[in-house]
Amino acid sequence: MPVVQTLKRLLALCLLLANGGPSDYACASEPKRAAPAAQVFLETHTAMGTIFSIYLYAPTEREAHTVAQAAFDEVDRVEELLSNYRPSSELSRINREAALGPVVTDRETFAFVATSIGWSARTNGAFDITVGRLMKAWGFFRANGHVPSAAELAEAGRQMGWQKVILNSQERSVRFAADNVELDPGGIGKGYVVDRMVEMLRVEHVTSALISAGSSTIYAIGAPPGKRGWKVQIPDPEDHQRPISTVVLRDTSLSTSACTEKYFVLDGHRYCHIMNPHTLKPVEDMVQTTAIHPSATASDALSASLFVLGPEASLHLLKGMPEASALLLAGHGRVEHCTSVRWSDPEGGDVCHRTATKRNRKVEP
């Protein structure tokens, strides 16, 4: 219960002030946070099938722990809302009932589904929160990959599609226009929870922290003392010795999509877990995409969208998003094309040019 915990902390602070402070009215005013954070602490938490970590500047380990716990409580709360592994989650309830009729839900869940559907509309369905059925057909949900038959694929195709999710904002309801449609927060949920964590940490007056959701979505609050921001390295998929780029983040987020952790190999062919909803097949021609955006929900959805769209359509999408930047590494298994959009690397120069001539390509829309 984050609220209860926050209250408890306030109470503890009040008691402290009441006992040691000059006035009995110390509780009436907003407790003040201690002066400049002295040390950096790392705290981790397992949730949503991954590991969340927070690097945090705080005067004491105790204070760092209290604040980080508040953020992790928020992760657990959102997981209980959106996990499709948990039958008890609100998203699971919608998945069970929305084919039977409109399911009225809470504001937060409704807004989350609406945002997700908004990304589908914006990307022409490249991003699709109903892709779970397709991933199941390819055996990704329980980690036993196989190539589905044409009939299985057709079946999965009938059970997915963002247009089959019908929202009514008046009554906050979700309805599915077909049987067996299923919402899967995989491509956007981690970004959403990171935004909630950032909100929580800012409420706790945290001014310098780095949040990582399994390293695929990262958010930087402020900067370490005396620095411009938090450094994040984007790995070179072909050279693990050195990063392809290092960026400095401050009050913004970065998300990466790649096939390096989840895929299966059959007859020498590598099948990626990121699906193209139009072809009903895994994406074949993209290696890694990274997006930077002030909203972690947006950077998460955006990196997934760019992965499916490919360089051309991605450029078009990014044109309409002036606050976003991106780095796309395209190719069949190997990186063949590098595309960067508003990408600023403090090491200077053109990241794609510096990396390798054969991948050279840079566009500034």
Binding site: T44, T46, G49, S215, S216, W230, K231
Partner: protein, 409 residues
């Protein structure tokens, strides 16, 4: 806890306890070849024969007499010993012998007190199998006889002698997993617990453990070992117990439960749960000790420590991350969402010898050197009384208070 501490072999506590297996020739160099140690065995059945086998691995030990009421045992013992061993049908006649240094009692539970008390009163040191006594009165009488005769008594709780138990329990007592408040023990099998009976008339003699007149069932036969470990870890015997049991699978005329679930209460609200079933073997035999900062899994083969996640720690400002940043990447993990427990750290305690051999060897050493055994009568009492009271609770359906051992003297 530093990982090297684990891999560095036996801990200082084991070295200090003198239990580290020494080379046989070092240990026995003071034993002259004609310094024979004559043992008489009452009840050379399955366990009694195992003890004979182990005793014969100790220099100077000779099986000088056996007593049993089941004829086929004598030939089995002769076979084990390699020559005919003088046999007795009545233990009193065997105890009249003047050349026996020690007596092993491995008869069915209901006979332990009668046989142990008689052997002690005949002036011999005794190795008595667990559970020490069947009823609370039985255990009390053995306690009194040991104190009155001043003779050496060792109880068959051989895990007290297992190096990995000693090492692990010492680490727990040194607070390496924090404050221990809960112990959960499983002893599960998938077998009917019956032994073949060549002649139907011998059913109750051979399958004595299935009948309440002779046996305390799963609690005394299996549970007493785990209760002893809990007593050891928690440093006392339990105060009370509440339990249930039933015959759920084997409706074959047996009287003892084929599954039991029992909770023992210790001081300060600490608890030990023992559960045993005979119709599923998944959990096997394992005992979990839960502390505020970690857990220990003890089995008949090993000891493994797990530590509670301690998620927060200070970061070195000159670390790789602070200098060069974190690395982003795809993080989609296929793993489930269970809390991360990690692979655990298995104790690498120098071992090798069977705990029963170590226990037998230690017994012989104690008798020869007139020293008090580690698994003494108090240890035997504490486990036996708890097992007996647990069975009372199962029968009465109520919580039972476990009487502490009367003050010595």
């Amino acid at each position: 806890m530093n990982r090297r501490d684990f891999l560095g072999g036996a801990s200082a506590s084991v070295l200090a306890s003198g239990m580290l297996p020494l080379l046989a020739q070092d240990r026995e160099k003071n034993v002259s070849p004609d310094d024979t140690f004559s043992v008489g065995v009452i009840g050379p059945g399955s366990r009694g024969q195992e003890l004979i086998r182990q005793l014969l691995r100790i220099r100077g030990v000779r099986i000088a007499a056996v007593c049993d009421i089941y004829e086929p045992r004598f030939a089995e013992v002769d076979q084990l010993a390699g020559s005919p061993v003088p046999r007795y049908k009545d233990y009193r006649h065997m105890l009249e012998r003047k050349d026996l240094d020690a007596i092993v009692v491995a008869t069915p539970l209901y006979l332990h007190a009668e046989h142990v008390n008689a052997a002690l009163n005949s002036g011999r040191a005794v190795y008595g199998e667990k559970s020490m006594g069947f009823t609370p009165e039985d255990s009390l009488s053995i306690l009194r006889t040991v104190s009155e005769t001043g003779k050496i008594f060792q109880v068959g709780h051989q895990y007290r002698y297992a190096p990995w138990f000693q090492d692990a329990v010492q680490r727990v007592r040194d607070l390496q997993i924090g404050k221990v408040t809960q112990i959960v023990a499983y002893w599960n099998r998938n077998a009917d617990w019956r032994r073949p009976v060549p002649e139907p008339k011998d059913e109750r003699l051979i399958n004595w453990r299935l009948y309440r007149e002779y046996s305390g069932g799963l609690l005394t036969e299996l549970g007493s070992h785990h209760i002893d470990v809990a007593n050891w870890v928690l440093g006392e015997q339990p105060i009370d117990v509440i339990g249930v049991g039933s015959i759920a699978v084997y409706h074959d005329g047996r009287e003892v439960d084929d599954n039991v679930q029992v909770i023992f209460g210790y001081s300060e609200g600490r608890r030990m749960t023992f559960t045993s079933m005979t119709s599923n073997s998944l959990m096997g035999e394992q005992l979990w000790i839960y502390g505020t900062s970690g857990s220990l899994q003890l089995t008949l083969e090993d000891a493994t420590f797990y530590y509670e996640p301690r998620p927060i720690h200070a970061v070195n400002p000159h670390s790789e991350m602070m200098q060069h940043g974190v690395t982003t990447g795809a993080s989609f993990r296929a793993q489930g969402e269970m809390p991360y427990r990690g692979p655990g750290t298995r104790l690498a305690t120098a071992s090798g010898d069977d705990p029963t051999l170590v226990a037998c060897r230690s017994f012989v050493d104690c008798v020869r050197g007139k020293k008090q055994p580690l698994a003494d009568v108090q240890i035997g009492y504490a486990a036996a009384i708890a097992a007996a009271c647990a069975n009372r609770s199962i029968q009465s359906g109520r919580k039972e208070i476990i009487p502490p051992a009367p003050a010595a003297g």
